[in-house]
Symmetry: C2
Subunit: 225 residues, 2 copies
Protein backbone atom coordinates (compact mmCIF):
# COMPACT_ATOMS: atom_id res chain seq x y z
CA UNK A 1 0.00 0.00 0.00
CA UNK A 2 1.30 3.42 -0.90
CA UNK A 3 -0.19 6.38 0.97
CA UNK A 4 1.11 9.41 -0.90
CA UNK A 5 0.48 11.62 2.16
CA UNK A 6 3.51 9.92 3.74
CA UNK A 7 5.73 11.50 1.08
CA UNK A 8 4.88 14.95 2.42
CA UNK A 9 6.54 14.11 5.73
CA UNK A 10 9.95 14.34 4.07
CA UNK A 11 11.48 17.76 4.68
CA UNK A 12 12.77 19.90 1.84
CA UNK A 13 13.71 23.52 1.27
CA UNK A 14 12.96 25.65 -1.77
CA UNK A 15 15.72 26.96 -3.99
CA UNK A 16 16.38 28.61 -7.32
CA UNK A 17 18.88 26.48 -9.22
CA UNK A 18 20.48 28.53 -12.00
CA UNK A 19 23.04 28.07 -14.71
CA UNK A 20 24.40 29.76 -17.80
CA UNK A 21 26.61 32.79 -18.24
CA UNK A 22 26.52 36.61 -18.42
CA UNK A 23 25.08 36.31 -21.92
CA UNK A 24 22.33 33.87 -21.15
CA UNK A 25 21.06 32.38 -17.95
CA UNK A 26 18.15 30.27 -16.80
CA UNK A 27 16.92 28.77 -13.56
CA UNK A 28 14.12 26.77 -11.96
CA UNK A 29 12.58 26.20 -8.55
CA UNK A 30 13.88 23.05 -6.91
CA UNK A 31 13.11 21.43 -3.60
CA UNK A 32 15.67 18.66 -4.01
CA UNK A 33 19.08 20.12 -3.30
CA UNK A 34 21.13 18.31 -0.67
CA UNK A 35 24.66 17.63 0.43
CA UNK A 36 25.94 14.17 -0.53
CA UNK A 37 29.47 14.20 0.93
CA UNK A 38 31.32 16.40 3.39
CA UNK A 39 34.87 15.79 2.18
CA UNK A 40 34.95 17.44 -0.25
CA UNK A 41 31.55 19.16 0.12
CA UNK A 42 29.44 17.92 -2.79
CA UNK A 43 25.81 18.68 -3.50
CA UNK A 44 23.14 17.07 -5.64
CA UNK A 45 20.42 18.89 -7.55
CA UNK A 46 17.65 16.99 -9.33
CA UNK A 47 16.28 18.45 -12.52
CA UNK A 48 13.56 17.14 -14.83
CA UNK A 49 14.98 16.28 -18.26
CA UNK A 50 12.25 18.44 -19.82
CA UNK A 51 13.37 21.49 -17.84
CA UNK A 52 15.30 23.91 -19.98
CA UNK A 53 17.75 24.42 -17.10
CA UNK A 54 18.83 20.75 -17.39
CA UNK A 55 20.17 21.55 -20.87
CA UNK A 56 21.85 24.73 -19.66
CA UNK A 57 23.57 22.99 -16.71
CA UNK A 58 24.68 20.25 -19.08
CA UNK A 59 26.40 22.68 -21.44
CA UNK A 60 27.71 25.05 -18.73
CA UNK A 61 29.07 22.42 -16.31
CA UNK A 62 28.18 24.36 -13.18
CA UNK A 63 25.16 25.62 -11.27
CA UNK A 64 24.22 27.96 -8.45
CA UNK A 65 21.68 27.43 -5.69
CA UNK A 66 19.88 30.45 -4.20
CA UNK A 67 18.17 29.63 -0.91
CA UNK A 68 14.84 31.43 -0.56
CA UNK A 69 13.52 32.86 2.69
CA UNK A 70 10.13 32.20 4.25
CA UNK A 71 8.57 35.47 3.16
CA UNK A 72 9.86 35.25 -0.40
CA UNK A 73 7.47 36.96 -2.80
CA UNK A 74 5.26 34.41 -4.55
CA UNK A 75 6.08 36.11 -7.86
CA UNK A 76 9.61 34.74 -7.90
CA UNK A 77 8.29 31.19 -7.42
CA UNK A 78 5.84 31.88 -10.23
CA UNK A 79 8.59 33.05 -12.58
CA UNK A 80 11.14 30.34 -11.85
CA UNK A 81 8.78 27.48 -10.98
CA UNK A 82 5.86 27.78 -13.35
CA UNK A 83 7.29 29.30 -16.49
CA UNK A 84 9.75 27.95 -19.04
CA UNK A 85 13.03 29.59 -20.00
CA UNK A 86 12.22 28.53 -23.55
CA UNK A 87 9.46 31.15 -23.55
CA UNK A 88 10.69 33.97 -21.32
CA UNK A 89 14.03 35.32 -20.15
CA UNK A 90 13.72 34.55 -16.43
CA UNK A 91 16.86 36.51 -15.55
CA UNK A 92 15.49 39.77 -16.92
CA UNK A 93 15.11 42.32 -14.14
CA UNK A 94 16.64 40.01 -11.53
CA UNK A 95 19.38 41.09 -9.16
CA UNK A 96 22.25 38.87 -10.25
CA UNK A 97 25.84 38.23 -9.35
CA UNK A 98 28.17 35.96 -11.32
CA UNK A 99 30.06 33.14 -9.67
CA UNK A 100 33.66 32.04 -10.00
CA UNK A 101 32.58 29.67 -12.77
CA UNK A 102 30.61 32.46 -14.46
CA UNK A 103 27.11 31.16 -13.62
CA UNK A 104 24.42 33.66 -12.66
CA UNK A 105 23.34 33.64 -9.00
CA UNK A 106 19.89 35.04 -8.25
CA UNK A 107 20.06 37.30 -5.18
CA UNK A 108 16.36 38.27 -5.00
CA UNK A 109 14.62 36.83 -1.92
CA UNK A 110 17.75 34.77 -1.12
CA UNK A 111 19.39 34.32 2.29
CA UNK A 112 22.40 32.33 1.08
CA UNK A 113 23.79 30.75 -2.05
CA UNK A 114 26.05 27.95 -3.21
CA UNK A 115 28.00 27.61 -6.42
CA UNK A 116 28.98 24.14 -7.61
CA UNK A 117 31.04 22.68 -10.45
CA UNK A 118 29.39 19.55 -11.91
CA UNK A 119 31.54 16.45 -11.35
CA UNK A 120 28.95 13.84 -12.29
CA UNK A 121 25.55 13.63 -13.97
CA UNK A 122 23.35 10.71 -13.04
CA UNK A 123 20.32 9.62 -15.04
CA UNK A 124 17.62 8.62 -12.53
CA UNK A 125 14.77 8.23 -15.04
CA UNK A 126 12.59 11.27 -15.65
CA UNK A 127 15.21 13.42 -13.88
CA UNK A 128 18.93 14.09 -14.05
CA UNK A 129 20.83 14.37 -10.80
CA UNK A 130 23.71 16.81 -11.09
CA UNK A 131 26.44 16.21 -8.51
CA UNK A 132 28.52 19.33 -7.98
CA UNK A 133 31.58 20.12 -5.93
CA UNK A 134 31.27 23.28 -3.85
CA UNK A 135 33.16 26.26 -5.28
CA UNK A 136 31.64 29.09 -3.28
CA UNK A 137 29.14 29.53 -0.44
CA UNK A 138 27.91 32.76 1.06
CA UNK A 139 25.32 33.90 3.60
CA UNK A 140 23.36 36.97 2.48
CA UNK A 141 20.96 37.44 5.38
CA UNK A 142 21.34 35.98 8.87
CA UNK A 143 17.97 37.19 10.16
CA UNK A 144 15.53 35.42 7.84
CA UNK A 145 14.37 31.80 8.03
CA UNK A 146 14.86 29.45 5.09
CA UNK A 147 11.66 28.63 3.20
CA UNK A 148 10.76 24.99 3.61
CA UNK A 149 8.54 23.01 1.29
CA UNK A 150 6.20 22.27 4.24
CA UNK A 151 5.80 25.99 4.93
CA UNK A 152 5.24 26.62 1.24
CA UNK A 153 2.54 23.95 1.10
CA UNK A 154 0.88 24.75 4.40
CA UNK A 155 1.13 28.51 4.73
CA UNK A 156 1.51 29.56 1.13
CA UNK A 157 -0.70 26.70 -0.15
CA UNK A 158 1.76 26.00 -2.93
CA UNK A 159 1.94 22.78 -4.91
CA UNK A 160 4.81 21.16 -6.78
CA UNK A 161 4.78 21.74 -10.54
CA UNK A 162 4.38 18.71 -12.82
CA UNK A 163 8.14 18.52 -13.51
CA UNK A 164 9.16 18.33 -9.84
CA UNK A 165 10.48 15.05 -8.40
CA UNK A 166 7.94 15.47 -5.60
CA UNK A 167 4.92 16.10 -7.84
CA UNK A 168 1.89 14.20 -6.60
CA UNK A 169 -1.17 13.79 -8.77
CA UNK A 170 -4.01 15.31 -6.73
CA UNK A 171 -6.29 12.37 -7.63
CA UNK A 172 -3.95 10.10 -5.64
CA UNK A 173 -4.56 12.02 -2.41
CA UNK A 174 -7.51 11.20 -0.21
CA UNK A 175 -10.40 13.55 -0.83
CA UNK A 176 -11.31 15.92 1.98
CA UNK A 177 -15.06 16.59 2.49
CA UNK A 178 -16.38 19.87 1.06
CA UNK A 179 -16.45 22.59 3.68
CA UNK A 180 -19.39 24.58 2.35
CA UNK A 181 -21.24 25.55 -0.74
CA UNK A 182 -18.55 27.97 -1.94
CA UNK A 183 -14.85 27.33 -2.03
CA UNK A 184 -11.72 29.37 -2.58
CA UNK A 185 -8.84 28.45 -4.85
CA UNK A 186 -5.37 29.90 -4.59
CA UNK A 187 -2.84 30.31 -7.36
CA UNK A 188 0.29 28.38 -6.43
CA UNK A 189 2.40 30.73 -8.51
CA UNK A 190 1.37 34.18 -7.25
CA UNK A 191 -1.02 33.63 -4.35
CA UNK A 192 -4.10 35.16 -6.03
CA UNK A 193 -7.30 33.75 -4.50
CA UNK A 194 -10.31 32.89 -6.64
CA UNK A 195 -13.36 33.23 -4.37
CA UNK A 196 -16.37 31.41 -5.84
CA UNK A 197 -18.83 33.41 -3.74
CA UNK A 198 -17.38 36.75 -4.84
CA UNK A 199 -16.97 35.71 -8.47
CA UNK A 200 -20.44 34.17 -8.59
CA UNK A 201 -19.14 31.14 -10.48
CA UNK A 202 -17.79 27.73 -9.46
CA UNK A 203 -14.09 27.31 -10.15
CA UNK A 204 -14.73 23.98 -11.89
CA UNK A 205 -17.01 25.74 -14.35
CA UNK A 206 -14.26 28.11 -15.51
CA UNK A 207 -12.93 27.16 -18.97
CA UNK A 208 -9.82 24.95 -19.07
CA UNK A 209 -7.81 27.63 -20.85
CA UNK A 210 -8.64 30.24 -18.19
CA UNK A 211 -5.49 31.63 -16.58
CA UNK A 212 -4.70 33.45 -13.35
CA UNK A 213 -5.63 37.12 -13.86
CA UNK A 214 -2.56 38.20 -11.87
CA UNK A 215 0.33 36.09 -13.13
CA UNK A 216 -0.99 34.02 -16.01
CA UNK A 217 -0.53 30.61 -14.32
CA UNK A 218 -2.80 27.87 -15.64
CA UNK A 219 -6.06 26.76 -14.05
CA UNK A 220 -4.35 23.54 -13.06
CA UNK A 221 -1.90 25.49 -10.88
CA UNK A 222 -4.73 26.52 -8.52
CA UNK A 223 -5.15 24.78 -5.21
CA UNK A 224 -8.38 24.45 -3.23
CA UNK A 225 -8.15 26.23 0.14
Amino acid sequence: MINYEALFKISYGLYIVSSGSKDYGNGFISNTVFQVTSQPPKFAACCNKDNHTAEVIGSTGSFSVSMLHEDAAAGIIGTFGYKSGKEINKMEGMELKYGETGVPIVLNEAIAFLECRVVETIDVGTHLMFIGELVQAEVLDESLEPLTYLYYRRVKKGVAPKNAPTYVDKSKLEKKPAEGEYAKYECAACGFVYDEEKEGKKFDEMPDDWVCPVCGAEKDDFYKL
Copy 2:
Protein backbone atom coordinates in the same frame (compact mmCIF):
# COMPACT_ATOMS: atom_id res chain seq x y z
CA MET B 1 35.19 31.89 -0.49
CA ILE B 2 33.28 29.16 1.28
CA ASN B 3 31.23 30.19 4.31
CA TYR B 4 30.16 26.89 5.88
CA GLU B 5 27.29 28.62 7.67
CA ALA B 6 25.56 28.85 4.28
CA LEU B 7 25.31 25.05 4.20
CA PHE B 8 23.02 25.14 7.23
CA LYS B 9 20.40 27.05 5.23
CA ILE B 10 19.60 23.89 3.28
CA SER B 11 16.56 22.17 4.76
CA TYR B 12 16.60 18.52 5.74
CA GLY B 13 14.55 16.16 7.87
CA LEU B 14 15.81 13.45 10.20
CA TYR B 15 15.16 9.79 9.52
CA ILE B 16 16.11 6.30 10.59
CA VAL B 17 17.22 4.39 7.50
CA SER B 18 17.11 0.65 8.21
CA SER B 19 17.82 -2.55 6.38
CA GLY B 20 18.26 -6.27 6.99
CA SER B 21 15.75 -8.98 7.82
CA LYS B 22 13.88 -10.57 10.72
CA ASP B 23 17.10 -12.31 11.75
CA TYR B 24 19.34 -9.28 11.69
CA GLY B 25 18.68 -5.61 11.18
CA ASN B 26 20.57 -2.36 11.43
CA GLY B 27 19.87 1.31 10.87
CA PHE B 28 21.35 4.79 11.09
CA ILE B 29 20.20 8.38 11.41
CA SER B 30 20.14 10.15 8.07
CA ASN B 31 19.22 13.68 7.10
CA THR B 32 19.64 13.10 3.39
CA VAL B 33 16.62 11.20 2.15
CA PHE B 34 14.76 12.77 -0.75
CA GLN B 35 12.57 11.98 -3.70
CA VAL B 36 14.37 11.94 -7.04
CA THR B 37 11.57 11.12 -9.49
CA SER B 38 7.78 11.08 -9.28
CA GLN B 39 7.06 8.50 -11.99
CA PRO B 40 7.75 6.00 -10.60
CA PRO B 41 8.33 7.43 -7.10
CA LYS B 42 12.05 6.89 -6.40
CA PHE B 43 13.99 8.00 -3.36
CA ALA B 44 17.67 8.47 -2.63
CA ALA B 45 19.37 7.82 0.71
CA CYS B 46 23.04 8.73 1.26
CA CYS B 47 25.07 6.49 3.51
CA ASN B 48 28.72 6.77 4.53
CA LYS B 49 30.72 3.79 3.24
CA ASP B 50 32.01 3.24 6.78
CA ASN B 51 28.47 2.91 8.14
CA HIS B 52 27.59 -0.70 8.85
CA THR B 53 24.12 -0.06 7.36
CA ALA B 54 25.73 0.59 3.95
CA GLU B 55 26.91 -3.02 3.93
CA VAL B 56 23.51 -4.29 5.09
CA ILE B 57 21.60 -2.33 2.42
CA GLY B 58 24.07 -3.62 -0.17
CA SER B 59 23.41 -7.25 0.69
CA THR B 60 19.66 -6.87 1.37
CA GLY B 61 18.76 -4.77 -1.69
CA SER B 62 16.12 -2.72 0.08
CA PHE B 63 15.75 -0.19 2.87
CA SER B 64 13.11 1.51 5.00
CA VAL B 65 12.89 5.14 6.08
CA SER B 66 11.23 6.02 9.38
CA MET B 67 10.39 9.73 9.65
CA LEU B 68 10.92 11.05 13.16
CA HIS B 69 8.69 13.64 14.83
CA GLU B 70 9.79 16.89 16.46
CA ASP B 71 9.56 15.60 20.01
CA ALA B 72 11.37 12.36 19.29
CA ALA B 73 13.29 11.17 22.34
CA ALA B 74 16.98 12.07 22.04
CA GLY B 75 17.83 8.49 23.03
CA ILE B 76 16.73 7.10 19.68
CA ILE B 77 19.01 9.56 17.87
CA GLY B 78 21.78 8.52 20.22
CA THR B 79 21.27 4.83 19.47
CA PHE B 80 20.90 5.06 15.71
CA GLY B 81 23.10 8.11 15.08
CA TYR B 82 26.03 7.82 17.42
CA LYS B 83 26.56 4.09 17.86
CA SER B 84 27.68 1.41 15.44
CA GLY B 85 25.73 -1.70 14.58
CA LYS B 86 29.07 -3.49 14.62
CA GLU B 87 29.11 -3.06 18.40
CA ILE B 88 25.48 -3.18 19.49
CA ASN B 89 22.24 -4.63 18.19
CA LYS B 90 20.35 -1.40 17.52
CA MET B 91 17.07 -3.19 16.82
CA GLU B 92 16.93 -4.79 20.27
CA GLY B 93 13.92 -3.53 22.19
CA MET B 94 12.64 -1.48 19.25
CA GLU B 95 9.06 -1.61 18.04
CA LEU B 96 9.46 -3.08 14.57
CA LYS B 97 7.35 -4.08 11.66
CA TYR B 98 8.65 -5.91 8.59
CA GLY B 99 8.10 -4.57 5.10
CA GLU B 100 7.01 -6.33 1.92
CA THR B 101 10.69 -6.88 1.09
CA GLY B 102 11.34 -8.17 4.62
CA VAL B 103 13.31 -5.16 5.89
CA PRO B 104 12.71 -3.99 9.46
CA ILE B 105 10.88 -0.68 9.85
CA VAL B 106 11.43 1.19 13.13
CA LEU B 107 8.10 2.50 14.44
CA ASN B 108 9.40 4.22 17.60
CA GLU B 109 9.03 8.03 17.42
CA ALA B 110 7.98 7.76 13.76
CA ILE B 111 5.12 9.59 12.06
CA ALA B 112 5.40 7.86 8.69
CA PHE B 113 7.60 5.41 6.84
CA LEU B 114 8.70 4.44 3.35
CA GLU B 115 9.98 1.13 2.07
CA CYS B 116 12.13 1.08 -1.07
CA ARG B 117 13.73 -1.55 -3.28
CA VAL B 118 17.22 -0.52 -4.41
CA VAL B 119 17.40 -0.03 -8.17
CA GLU B 120 20.79 1.70 -8.33
CA THR B 121 23.78 2.35 -6.09
CA ILE B 122 25.89 5.39 -6.89
CA ASP B 123 29.37 5.96 -5.52
CA VAL B 124 29.65 9.67 -4.69
CA GLY B 125 33.01 9.50 -2.89
CA THR B 126 32.92 9.02 0.88
CA HIS B 127 29.23 8.06 0.59
CA LEU B 128 27.04 5.67 -1.36
CA MET B 129 23.76 6.95 -2.67
CA PHE B 130 21.12 4.23 -2.75
CA ILE B 131 18.31 4.93 -5.21
CA GLY B 132 15.20 2.96 -4.30
CA GLU B 133 11.82 2.53 -5.91
CA LEU B 134 8.90 2.99 -3.53
CA VAL B 135 7.25 -0.27 -2.44
CA GLN B 136 5.21 0.92 0.50
CA ALA B 137 4.40 4.22 2.26
CA GLU B 138 2.32 4.72 5.35
CA VAL B 139 1.36 7.56 7.71
CA LEU B 140 1.49 6.55 11.39
CA ASP B 141 0.57 9.82 13.08
CA GLU B 142 -1.16 12.78 11.46
CA SER B 143 -0.91 15.09 14.48
CA LEU B 144 2.85 15.37 14.99
CA GLU B 145 5.27 17.56 13.03
CA PRO B 146 8.23 16.03 11.20
CA LEU B 147 11.59 16.67 12.87
CA THR B 148 13.75 18.91 10.71
CA TYR B 149 17.51 19.15 10.91
CA LEU B 150 17.18 22.90 11.64
CA TYR B 151 14.93 22.16 14.62
CA TYR B 152 17.33 19.45 15.78
CA ARG B 153 20.27 21.86 15.56
CA ARG B 154 18.52 24.91 16.99
CA VAL B 155 16.14 23.54 19.61
CA LYS B 156 17.77 20.23 20.41
CA LYS B 157 21.32 21.58 19.86
CA GLY B 158 22.21 18.47 17.93
CA VAL B 159 25.19 18.18 15.58
CA ALA B 160 25.78 15.88 12.61
CA PRO B 161 27.98 12.86 13.39
CA LYS B 162 31.33 12.59 11.56
CA ASN B 163 29.92 10.12 9.01
CA ALA B 164 27.07 12.39 7.88
CA PRO B 165 27.19 14.05 4.45
CA THR B 166 26.43 17.33 6.22
CA TYR B 167 29.14 17.03 8.88
CA VAL B 168 30.94 20.35 9.37
CA ASP B 169 34.22 20.53 11.25
CA LYS B 170 33.54 22.96 14.10
CA SER B 171 36.90 24.68 13.49
CA LYS B 172 35.57 25.80 10.09
CA LEU B 173 32.73 27.77 11.67
CA GLU B 174 33.30 31.32 12.85
CA LYS B 175 34.00 31.45 16.55
CA LYS B 176 31.39 33.12 18.74
CA PRO B 177 32.68 35.22 21.67
CA ALA B 178 32.64 33.53 25.07
CA GLU B 179 29.53 34.39 27.02
CA GLY B 180 30.94 34.13 30.52
CA GLU B 181 33.46 32.36 32.64
CA TYR B 182 31.49 29.11 32.78
CA ALA B 183 29.91 27.36 29.86
CA LYS B 184 27.45 24.52 29.32
CA TYR B 185 27.89 21.61 26.95
CA GLU B 186 25.08 19.44 25.70
CA CYS B 187 25.28 15.85 24.58
CA ALA B 188 24.08 15.67 20.98
CA ALA B 189 22.99 12.09 21.51
CA CYS B 190 20.81 12.28 24.63
CA GLY B 191 20.53 15.95 25.57
CA PHE B 192 22.41 15.70 28.88
CA VAL B 193 23.91 19.08 29.83
CA TYR B 194 27.36 19.35 31.39
CA ASP B 195 27.33 22.57 33.43
CA GLU B 196 30.91 23.71 34.24
CA GLU B 197 29.75 25.85 37.15
CA LYS B 198 27.82 23.00 38.76
CA GLU B 199 30.51 20.40 38.05
CA GLY B 200 33.30 22.74 39.20
CA LYS B 201 35.48 21.73 36.28
CA LYS B 202 36.01 23.08 32.79
CA PHE B 203 34.71 20.77 30.08
CA ASP B 204 38.01 21.02 28.18
CA GLU B 205 39.84 19.68 31.25
CA MET B 206 37.80 16.47 31.29
CA PRO B 207 39.82 13.48 30.00
CA ASP B 208 39.46 12.60 26.31
CA ASP B 209 38.04 9.18 27.12
CA TRP B 210 35.33 10.66 29.35
CA VAL B 211 31.85 9.72 28.14
CA CYS B 212 28.35 11.07 28.68
CA PRO B 213 27.13 9.77 32.05
CA VAL B 214 23.63 9.28 30.63
CA CYS B 215 24.08 7.61 27.25
CA GLY B 216 27.77 6.89 26.87
CA ALA B 217 28.33 9.22 23.88
CA GLU B 218 31.90 10.44 23.48
CA LYS B 219 33.23 13.78 24.69
CA ASP B 220 33.47 14.85 21.06
CA ASP B 221 29.71 14.50 20.69
CA PHE B 222 29.13 17.39 23.11
CA TYR B 223 28.20 20.79 21.80
CA LYS B 224 28.84 24.12 23.52
CA LEU B 225 25.57 25.88 24.37
